[in-house]
Amino acid sequence: MDELRNHVKEMLANGTVAAVIGYKEAGSPMRTKPVIITAPEEAILLVFNEYCLNNLAVYLTKARVKNLARVNGTIKKLGIVAKPCDVHAVIALIQESQLKREDVYIISFNCNGVVKDYGETLTGETIASKCLHCDARQPLYHDKVFGELKDLPASPDEELAKIKSFDDMTSQERFEYFKNEFDKCIKCYACRAACPMCYCTQCITDKTIPRWVESSAHGRGNFSWNLIRAFHLSARCVGCGECERACPMDIPLSLINRKMLEVAKNDFAYLSGRNLETPTLVGSFDVKDKEEFIL
């Protein structure tokens, strides 16, 4: 922790970065919240542990945060404390031209997993489900990396088992299941606000002429909103699970996002946010793409 604080202090003092987005303790050592640090002496606030749940990449596209990097007419770097999985989101944003690699300073950690919820000790039972199928515990891109890898508590991947179990259901049963889940939606759009990839300045659901997605929280409006959200994120979602964590109604959004990640992986061998050099899946094409489903 001291290494992180000292490093950030140094970077802010010598003017390499204009601000650093990080985590600070929130009321208890087993709880954190995001903090944006602009003065070297504030670096003492920073922490990094298994309770750093937020994906801070969501702040990188916000105009208010971007403005922090504009100092005396020049654009400085924005620092971000990112778990290796959050680095995927930063990479995906760079792939989609929302950021430039040289404008962001990535401070990352060799990650030993995070908990599902604040206030729990990290064990096989309390570990976040995304950590169970993590393929990048070391950051793929970084400017500075801290921490040592330790063994991750093991636990069966129940999420994937649940997704697989849907294969045996009839489409009617699946429709019923998701209908009941989406019925809970109150259209608060917390999933959209928490998502680092939902950076559109005007979301399609906010468009009124024509009104594509009905804004009322009734069955039809909920179904179309959740469907559009899932589709706009398929093959773009980096699987950070923030939407599900932000959802006040506990809709299993990760089940859908994870399924679409599997589809992109199986059909196109594509994982989003892994490589700065490759174009995004939906932003490019290959003449040899498969098309068995087309008559």
Partner: protein, 163 residues
């Protein structure tokens, strides 16, 4: 509408340059295809946003057909290649969420394939006929509609009392 009289409603989004012209050829060749198809012409299959499809289901379609130029024949060079990737994802997403994959079908029909257009339309309409009316999506809103209708009745009653 009673069950016996039900006829499938299929909405087709077709590209201006190939499938629409193909449908034209089917017409000028006097080929017959089911009249359940409501065709909507768009400039390119790459311009068909998935919200169009959702909207079609919301407005009571039992099935949707999307058709464009064969790969490599796109009037705009690459529209259908982009569309193909999008559909691969969207088709599997819909299937996962419980919308039968035969309710949403895709095809490539060129301007010279009037016969293929007839075959595709017949197949899609038959598939949708087999699946029956898309009750699931139509009933999504039943509770909400019931509440709204109840309120309307209350308002009417109140108006009748107050003259």
């Amino acid at each position: 509408m009673t069950e016996e009289k039900w006829e499938p409603k299929v909405v087709a989004f077709v590209c201006n340059w190939c499938t629409y012209t193909g449908a034209d050829l089917a017409g000028t060749s006097r080929l017959k295809y089911p009249a359940n198809m409501k065709m909507i012409r768009v400039m390119c299959s790459g311009g068909i946003d998935p919200v169009f499809i959702i909207k079609a289901f919301e407005r009571g379609a039992d099935g949707v057909l999307i058709s464009g130029c064969h790969p490599g024949d796109c009037h705009y060079n690459a529209g259908n290649f982009h569309a193909r990737r999008r559909w691969t994802m969207f088709h599997q997403l819909l299937e996962y969420l419980g919308i039968d994959k035969n309710r949403l079908q895709f095809s490539w029909v060129s301007a010279s394939e009037g016969k293929k257009f007839v075959d595709v339309v017949s197949k899609v309409v038959n598939d949708v006929r087999e699946l029956g009316p898309f009750k699931g999506y139509k009933e999504l809103n039943s509770e909400f509609t019931a509440v709204v209708n109840g309120l309307k009745q209350e308002v009417n009653k109140a108006e009748a009392v107050n003259g």
